[in-house]
């Protein structure tokens, strides 16, 4: 007795091929696409104050450390307090509408609520000071901040991305004096060689504690 139509004879082959492909395709797809490289890079939220790094850093030439003053000393680079802004803006553009939230914060004592862009998971203990101290440039992780009107995430900050550098750090180091220089290129340090003895950690507790 013929229970099934003849056309079903191909079914095992088709099902076998599809079954063999689905797993690898899903895994490769997740591996390639579901990463911070696709979901984090380019994140540029609207901030409460339309602060322009392009103006302050690129055109006026302010040093990163004028505002992010803890970057050499502590784990956090620090978002500047309202007082830092008011150091200049108490006298410059005192009636600018764009600066209204800053003046309000100055009067009320309530900090401006900047939107956090470079977020790491809670179980990652990243330390700015050690990276700056060995000569990792600001640009390496944050990109050309001096050209950004609105700050956007430039690098994925994923674990694999961190490990790439920890395993081969030399291409990402520069002389310590050039850390905040946005225009620095390796050609500008002819004759300078990165140190051989840094041994950045690649074990779990190097970053997870």
């Amino acid at each position: 007795m013929q229970l099934f139509s003849k056309s079903l004879n191909k079914l095992p082959i088709i099902a076998g091929v599809i079954g063999a492909l689905v797993g690898p395709v899903v895994i490769l797809g997740v591996w390639y696409y579901v990463t911070p490289k696709n979901f984090q890079v380019g994140y540029a939220p609207t901030q409460p104050v339309p602060y322009s790094h392009r103006l302050h850093v690129g055109q006026m030439g302010m040093d990163c450390r004028y505002c992010h003053s803890n970057v050499e000393k502590s784990a956090k680079a620090m978002i500047p307090p309202t007082q830092t802004c008011m150091g200049c803006h108490a006298m410059i553009r005192t009636d600018s509408a764009k600066l209204a939230p800053v003046r309000k914060s100055w009067e009320t004592g309530k900090p401006v609520e900047w939107v956090h862009i470079h977020k790491l998971p809670d179980h990652v203990y990243f330390n700015h000071s050690v990276h700056v101290a060995v000569g990792v440039g600001c640009k390496t992780c944050h990109g050309r901040i001096d050209q950004m009107e609105i700050v956007r995430a430039d690098q994925p900050l994923s674990m694999g991305w961190c490990l790439d550098c920890h395993r081969d750090y030399k291409p990402n180091l520069r002389p310590k004096g050039e850390v905040t220089n946005m225009n620095w290129t390796p050609e500008m340090a002819a004759g300078w060689a990165p140190p051989d003895n840094l041994n950045p950690p690649t074990h779990c507790s190097g970053c997870h504690r």
Binding site: L3, I27, W161
Partner: protein, 489 residues
């Protein structure tokens, strides 16, 4: 030309099936279980089993919601009932492959009566075992970290760790035993298809039978495939539990760090697997009346295997003590002599339950009277199941609860959730098992037919034909042709 199928009368062998068994009676006995409505007892058992399955689901749901703190595991006993249950279930899963693959290669024809049953039990036990590695990881939704999948974090499992070997060993075992079981089922599913009355039933069994027609060529390919799968699964009988034992043996904890573990675990696994087959077989045999196929002879042979493996396990227990003494390692000596065996040890009760159930109870099988007594073998098989659970508990918990730092010593007590999860996996096991009995031929019909005297093709004088041949198949024909002929009925 004499045949491997025929009993050798001069050494007292008797046929592997009961007097009066015919091709037809085998098909009838086995198939009608799946065709007649389920008896009331089946429904009661199924209801109970699925209730326990529900309890397991709730216990695991609660665990996921609350975290592993709902279990009794805590420093220094980081592994407790979870891994005990895992190893226990994996061990039980060993009888199936041993019976189906190793005994097949050794031409132990008596296996045909119990192999389907044991293989099904293997698969269900492996499913129960696989529950535990998945839920014991704390954050179960990250359990896929156990597999070496490429990811943007650039993290891989530690290939030097036996835990990853374990993943490969157990998943290979699950795959190969399922494949083996299914290949063995194909001719029998075709029998059910051909007997089916309703079109739906015919379609379902027809799809599962993969278009089996019982032709000579199909049988040739089939038997070759079965042989290859048997050869593939044979090393797994030894490898899986060896690798499970590496989880312990490669660590430095006294009581775990032992070279005897791989063979000792394999012997224990076969031991517990046979005990579980025995427990289930005795009940099923009584309920469904397959006594003519699963005879006392088979049960007795299984008891002999249990006596052998039980004594092997007993030897391993003894050898652990010898090595503890002989090595001069004071930590190991303290663990074995004080912590486990001496009544001062907080878990010595578990140790002595293990010894009495695993080493002492199977010794009754030295006596033929005991080997052939159904109540005795039923009680002993249950004692062995209990004893083998305690063996894993003793290995895991007594070794951990007194580690090198007396300041961190502790005691382990299971919580209700531990107990519910364990009982729940029994529910999962029996639910699957009852479904199997209900829907799938529980005895390998075609293989049992193959060991009937009538199935023996021979051209010599009809000297062996003084046996009774009820159904008149006097012609020299092989099993395949007969099964095919019967499928046409």
């Amino acid at each position: 030309m004499s045949s491997v199928n025929l009993p050798i009368k001069s050494i007292g062998e008797t046929p592997l099936t009961a007097e009066g068994t015919t091709f037809r009676s085998i098909t009838e006995t086995v198939s009608r279980v799946t065709e007649n409505p389920a008896p009331r007892g089946w429904w009661i058992a199924f209801l109970m089993a699925s209730s326990f399955l529900g309890i397991m689901t709730m216990a695991i749901g609660y665990l996921f919601w609350m975290g592993v703190g709902v279990w009794g595991n805590n420093a220094p006993v980081y592994w407790a009932w979870d891994i005990t249950n895992f190893v226990w279930w994996i061990g039980i899963g060993h009888a199936g492959t041993l019976i189906s693959a190793v005994l097949f290669l050794f031409r132990q024809k008596w296996r045909t009566a119990i192999n389907r049953f044991a293989e099904a039990m293997t698969i269900f036990a492996v499913i129960c075992a696989l529950v535990f590695p998945g839920i014991h990881v704390g954050r179960a939704w990250l359990a896929y970290y156990m597999f070496p999948l490429p990811n943007e974090m650039s993290i891989w499992p530690n290939f030097k760790s036996p835990l990853i070997w374990d993943i490969f060993a157990v998943s290979t075992y699950a795959t190969v035993s399922t494949l083996f079981w299914f290949v063995g089922l194909i001719p029998d599913l075709a029998t059910l298809r051909d007997r089916a009355k309703s079109p739906l039933r015919r379609k379902i069994y027809g799809a599962l039978a993969l278009g089996w027609r019982g032709s000579n060529r199909a049988w040739q390919n089939y038997e070759r495939a079965y042989l290859i799968l048997a050869a593939l699964s044979t090393p797994l009988v030894l490898s899986v539990h060896s690798v499970v034992s590496f989880d312990f043996a490669t660590s430095l904890i006294p009581g775990w760090h032992t070279t005897i573990f791989p063979p000792y675990f394999v012997a224990g696994a076969v031991f517990s697997g046979f005990a579980m087959v025995m427990t289930l077989m005795l009940v099923t045999r009584a309920v469904y009346g397959v006594r003519s196929i699963v005879m006392m002879k088979h049960l007795e042979l299984m008891n002999k295997i249990m006596l052998t493996t039980g004594s092997l396990v007993g030897y391993a227990y003894g050898m652990e003590f010898f090595i503890a003494w002989y090595s001069g390692d004071q930590y190991e000596q303290w663990l074995f002599f004080h912590n486990r065996a001496s009544l001062d040890g907080p878990f010595s009760w578990a140790y002595w339950i293990m010894i009495s159930c695993n080493v002492l109870s199977p010794q009754v099988f030295w006596f033929k009277k005991m080997r052939t007594s159904i109540p005795v073998m039923f009680v002993v098989s249950i004692l062995i199941n209990i004893g083998m659970w305690f063996e894993r508990f003793v290995i895991i918990v007594t070794s951990l609860h007194r580690d090198f730092l007396p300041s961190s010593w502790g005691y382990y007590k299971p919580t209700l959730i531990d107990i519910f999860t364990y009982l729940g996996t029994l529910g999962l096991f029996f639910t699957l098992f009852l479904l199997f009995i209900r829907w799938i031929p529980m005895v390998a019909i075609s293989e049992v037919k193959g060991v009937l005297p009538e199935a023996d093709p021979h051209h010599d004088a009809h000297a062996s034909h003084d046996e009774s041949h009820e159904d008149g198949h006097d012609e020299a024909v092989g099993t395949p042709a007969i099964v095919a002929a019967e499928a046409e009925e």
